[in-house]
Each structure stands twice: as structure tokens, then as C-alpha cells.
């Protein structure tokens, strides 16, 4: 997912995350969730936090940033998602949104 500015990123995240039905099947294979402090450290959490961010219903609080940046991008969750969501793509795009919001790469 190449970013063409925040709006394109948000549109991509909204479309991709709208496929999530919250079944949680992705969680079984996630290495970070098992050791993490809460559901935000797993794919279901990341996808749903990304959705909130993209819809402007949440901001980059430290918990949300931790959720996104603790992802290994290992794609184990992709093996199990019945909705075929590009979970790692969503995480990367959300990181890009964060970077834009922080003007780190200006």
C-alpha cells in the first residue's frame, strides 16, 4: 500500500477494515497477543483500532501507537482471516498515518 497522503490512507483502511466481523480467528496465531497486555496487541484489535482511527473516532493515544508498532508484520493472522483482510497492509497504512500526524518525515 503506497501512501498518497492521509486521505488515501484513510480510505484504504476504511475499506479493508469494513470486512472485519470480529470473529477473532486471527488471534490464535498472533505471537504478540499471547504476550501482550491487551487485545490491541493482536490482529483483531489492530484492525478495529485502525478502523476507529481512519473514521476519526479515535486518536493516536499511547495505547493505540503501541498496538500498531508492536506488530511483527509476520502475516500469521492472514492464514486464518475468513474475511481475507490485508491485516499487515492495514497496520502499515496506520503507521504511515501516524508518521504523517507526527510530521516525522517532513
Amino acid at each position: 500500500m503506497q501512501s498518497n497522503g492521509a486521505e488515501a490512507l484513510r480510505a484504504y483502511i476504511r475499506a479493508e477494515t469494513s470486512k472485519c466481523m470480529f470473529c477473532g480467528f486471527c488471534e490464535a496465531l498472533c505471537p504478540t497477543l499471547y504476550h501482550g497486555p491487551h487485545r490491541g496487541y493482536g490482529p483483531r484489535g489492530r484492525v478495529n483500532l485502525a478502523r476507529l482511527i481512519a473514521r476519526g473516532e479515535a486518536s493516536f493515544t499511547s495505547d493505540v501507537v503501541e498496538s500498531m508498532y508492536s506488530c511483527l508484520l509476520c502475516k500469521a493472522c492472514h492464514l486464518k482471516c475468513p474475511g481475507g483482510i490485508d491485516i499487515v497492509g492495514v497496520v502499515r497504512a496506520t503507521r504511515s498515518l501516524y508518521v504523517l500526524s507526527q510530521e516525522v518525515s517532513a
Binding site: Q2, T32, V65, L72, R92, S96
Partner: protein, 315 residues
């Protein structure tokens, strides 16, 4: 649990813009391994290491430093201060990597060169065209920094006359094969992974034999479909391959990719995986420098080595 992400991103962005590496170190560390090998510098096919093997000793030093910070309650704040103080502690820590790790990375790179040569692959190594691929920038969401960096890498490869590059680790292979074409306009360099190339050449390596446990890296297994190649090469080299409970496409991440953001989490995952591997055997094969570093950090009594050393009979 996660360190001050913003500060780490800033550091990576600034350093990459300055000298092409996301850490405050001399870029020469990427090419020094080839000094004195007398490799040809000109050719259509270039060995492009992407610098990951070479950077690992420095990243390990960084992680050690970060782990100390993370263990203090105000970890994030300290890291911020360190950056503003001219990176004193940080740069100091990174500047002193474990020499044995540096030598090990050189040994791996030379083994790979030897394997390619024995298989009859014609290639050149041009130090001015080798360098960091920028994969970490891409992974961290530093899109603009990554794009600028990728264009620079592409231009120096073109300047060196590369039509095809040989990559040697999963992350660099992935970024060059799948991501560069998307980010770099007109990207027209063919990317070939060295394990695939060795198979294509029908090369039969010879190793020391015995039983080895294989740890598939996520990107080879799930993104690039490189699963059979290492197994065939190892089998040809005389090894009996033991499969851990989770292997192939179902492999379990070593935890490495978050080492510089959440070192403690990274270590926990590595320990879990190392335990799982140890249930099958003590000798472990890794195919990625990040896996090698992170699983080694886990502290299980394992004898972990890069596949190239097994294939060249050096492990």
C-alpha cells in the same frame, strides 16, 4: 511495553537522510566484509546484500541499550533526552558492537559468495552500489523517507550497471522484489534470491551432515514462497531436517521485527520459539539475520547458525 516510538522514528529518519543507514554508524560497515576478496566490480548481475547481515551487530548493541532503558519506569523520556543530548549514550552503545558478531556476519557473507561461485553463478560486487535497502523505514510507516531512500538505492544500482541483483535475506528480497517496483518509478531490475538461484543452477552443496531443526522466516514462508528450496539444499548437503511444530507456511515469528520498539516483548516471543525449536533438536538453521540474532538472544541452549554456513560445511 513499547518504547517512545516517535523518538525512534525520528532517529531512523534523520540518520537515513544523513548517511543512508537508519543508525548513527559509518556506512562502510556494510561493505568492509568484501575487502580483499578481489570480487569483480562490474557486471550485469550484482550481489546486493541490502546490509541486513552487516547491521545486525549494531542493532543488537542498540537493543541491549534499549532494554536497559525499558527496564526503567521512565524509559521513553530517557531515550528522548539521549537523542537531544547529541545521542551520546545511544551512539556510544551502537559504536561498540560485539566484534564476534561482526566477524560472524562477514563469515556468512563470504560463505554465500563461495556458494554462488561454486554453483557457477557469474556476479559482481560493487561496494558503491551496495547499501541498506530501507526495509525498516517501510515497515515503520516512514513512507516519504523510504521513497527518497529507495530512489537513491535504485539510482546507484543503475549507475553500477545492474540489470539483475542477487539478494540474500528475506527482508531485502521482499522489499526489492515486491515493494521497490511500487515505490520507484520505472524500476526495471530483476531480483533473484540466492537460495532460488542455487536451486536453479542445480547446485549440490556439501555440508557436515547430521540432524538440524529448520526455522522458516515469515517472509520467505508466507510472502515469497521460499519453503522447499532451503530444504532441498540442506538435504542435498547431507542434513536430516527436523520440522518444528510450526513450520513452513505456518511458521512462528522469531519476534525480531519489533526488537527496537519493544525489546522485552521481542525477547518473550523469541524465548517461546526457541523452546519450541529445542523440542526437536539443538542444532538450528536460520535463514534470516534477524531470526539468527533474536533467537540467539533468547538464551536457550541452542546452536544456531545461518543456512549458508551449513551449506558450505562451516557449521
Amino acid at each position: 511495553m513499547v518504547l517512545n516510538v516517535r523518538e525512534i522514528l525520528l532517529l531512523m529518519a534523520e540518520e537515513t537522510e544523513k548517511n543512508g543507514i537508519p543508525l548513527p554508524i559509518n556506512p562502510r560497515v556494510i561493505t568492509e566484509w568484501a575487502e580483499g576478496l578481489g570480487l569483480p566490480e562490474k557486471g550485469d548481475t550484482l550481489l546486493y546484500t541490502g546490509g541486513l547481515y552487516q547491521l545486525m551487530p549494531y542493532i543488537n548493541a542498540l537493543v541491549k541499550y534499549l532494554e536497559v532503558l525499558e527496564s526503567r519506569p521512565s524509559g521513553g523520556f530517557l531515550l528522548k533526552a539521549a537523542r537531544k543530548l547529541g545521542l551520546t549514550g545511544l551512539a556510544g552503545a551502537i559504536a561498540k558492537p560485539d566484534r564476534r558478531e561482526v566477524e560472524y556476519s562477514h563469515k556468512v557473507l563470504r560463505a554465500i559468495v563461495k556458494l554462488l561461485q561454486s554453483a557457477g553463478v557469474e556476479f559482481a560486487y560493487n561496494p558503491s552500489a551496495d547499501g541498506y535497502s530501507g526495509v525498516l523505514l517501510y515497515d515503520m510507516g516512514l513512507d516519504n523517507v523510504f521513497r527518497r531512500h529507495a530512489v537513491r538505492v535504485y539510482e546507484s544500482l543503475k549507475k553500477a550497471g545492474a540489470r539483475r541483483i542477487i539478494t540474500i535475506d528475506p527482508h531485502t528480497t521482499f522489499i526489492m522484489e515486491k515493494v521497490y517496483p511500487e515505490y520507484v518509478k520505472g524500476f526495471d531490475i530483476e531480483v533473484v534470491n540466492y537460495l532460488r538461484l542455487l536451486r536453479e543452477k542445480g547446485y549440490k552443496p556439501s555440508g557436515n551432515g547430521g540432524r538440524v531443526v529448520i526455522h522458516d522466516p515469515c517472509l520467505y514462508a508466507r510472502e515469497l514462497g521460499i519453503i522447499e528450496e532451503p530444504r532441498k539444499l540442506l538435504a542435498d548437503a547431507g542434513y536430516e531436517i527436523l520440522e518444528p511444530r510450526r513450520s513452513g507456511r505456518m511458521t512462528y515469528c522469531c519476534g525480531g521485527p519489533v526488537e527496537s520498539i519493544a525489546p522485552r516483548l521481542s525477547r518473550k516471543i523469541a524465548s517461546m520459539r526457541a523452546r519450541e525449536l529445542s523440542e526437536k533438536g539443538r542444532r538450528v538453521v536460520t535463514l534470516c539475520p534477524i531470526c539468527l540474532a533474536n533467537l540467539s538472544r533468547a538464551g536457550e541452549k541452542l546452536e544456531i547458525n545461518d543456512i549458508s554456513l551449513y551449506l558450505s560445511g562451516e557449521a
